[in-house]
């Protein structure tokens, strides 16, 4: 892995997350119907950060859960299976505007799996997608509603997102797959 470009640092990520928090509030006309679900694993801290921001802006409690999509993957049996992580959605999503959060949007297959998983928990009013980085190369008709940064990449590159909660620091870099 050769580091090619440094894209976002801690302050950049902080600004992006705050901007997206405002966009979500604006588009949904307030926090009342919102619940957040972060996709394991780096979507989880991002969802928590946005929810915390909105709590701070609006002075009201915001629910945030976590979702593991391992059991909904479309490539089970083809790849080495990742160790399943915890799903914890301990609130009702029926009739809510669910804000689904992930770090990188790439082929769209993870989001497809997440949509299936969420529907198993109830029928939300809407599901909106937040991603920190959209790197292109979609294989399914999926797009994000809120994007931190559009980052055109080639297929032999990888986007590496690091977050304090999972990796000890905040950064986004592009690396060459080696």
């Amino acid at each position: 892995m050769i580091e090619k470009a440094y894209i976002l640092n801690e302050d950049d990520i902080d600004r992006v997350v705050r901007r997206i928090s405002h966009e979500i509030l604006e588009r949904n006309k307030g926090p009342e119907s919102l619940v957040f679900i972060g996709i394991q694993k780096r979507g989880v801290p991002l969802a928590d950060r946005i929810a915390k921001n909105i709590e701070k802006f609006e002075g009201t409690e915001i629910k945030a859960g976590k979702l593991d999509i391992t059991f909904y993957r479309d490539d089970i049996g083809q790849n080495i299976k990742p160790n399943a992580r915890i799903t914890d959605i301990s609130f009702d999503i029926e009739g809510k505007n669910v804000i689904l959060v992930d770090d990188v949007l790439y082929t769209g297959r993870t989001v497809r799996a997440a949509l299936d998983a969420i529907i198993d928990f109830g029928r939300p009013k809407s599901i909106q997608l937040v991603v920190l980085i959209d790197r292109g190369h979609r294989e399914l008709p999926i797009r994000a509603d809120y994007v931190g940064k559009n980052l055109p990449t080639s297929l032999n590159e990888a986007v590496e997102v690091k977050l304090k909660e999972t990796d000890g620091l905040d950064s986004v870099t592009v690396v060459e797959k080696g």
């Binding site: 593991d68 160790n83 399943a84 799903t87 198993d120």
Partner: protein, 306 residues
Amino acid sequence: MLNKKSILDADSLSLEDIKLILSNADSFLEISRRDVKKVPTLRGKTVINLFFEPSTRTKTSFEIAAKRLSADIINFSPSTSSLKKGESIIDTLKTIFSMKVDLIVIRHSDSGTVKMVDRFVDIPVINAGDGKYQHPTQALLDLYTIKKRFGKFEGLKVAIVGDFLDSRVARSDMNLFEKMGMDVTIVSPTMFLPEDFSAMKVKHCIGDVIEDADIVYMLRMQFERQDRKFYPSVMEYNRFLTLNMDRLGKMKPGSIVMHPGPVNRGIEITDEVMDTSGELAEKIVIEEQVTFGVAVRMAILYLILG
């Protein structure tokens, strides 16, 4: 993903396999608590339950586990099959195998049958109990139950109480318990011990261990497997081996009582203990074992077939 595709005995499970199964079980436990208790993970896979011996919990547990993963499961019952017409077990298996099944779960009253079956078919085989030999998935769910209660294994004191000789659960559990670094004592009369038990820590009365044990594991009296004369009398069994209220009360705080089920009330455990309520009831984790069994078997099916 599991190093070994079939699960035939506890001995050949590596420490990595065990840890992998236990850590995945957490995720499957969550699925069983949802309103919609189903994920599409094993869609299109076919599992067959081949039970040559009666079973409530293991058979149902595997059936529910497979269904919650969206696999198709067929319950094969020997009593209504061509085995009754004299078809050999191998020919029956060849027939089933020809129908493109993906995994076989099998229980049989003869020790070693499952190993033989595994040699005959090219698909994974899970031992759901064979004779007096092994019951590895029971041992794994027992480990998971202990992990949930204690959060660790190292140094826990376990007393395995009862008919050790005829018990496949005891054989599998003892192996895994020791593998995880637990301190195992067998409480059993000499007539229920294998010929060479010099390597085991042995006591003859439950009273000798009850105050010190973190886990008291009561074995089921294997009436169906005792081809020699039964233990002298129930009264004598009660005196040395039965868990009664008096003994339950002597157990230390945080300690638990396990049993693979079904319980012979009045023999391994008294009615009063089984039906007790209040603080002491917290110690009896027999129903938790059953709940966790589904999650552990889901993890096993997922790791083998996924």
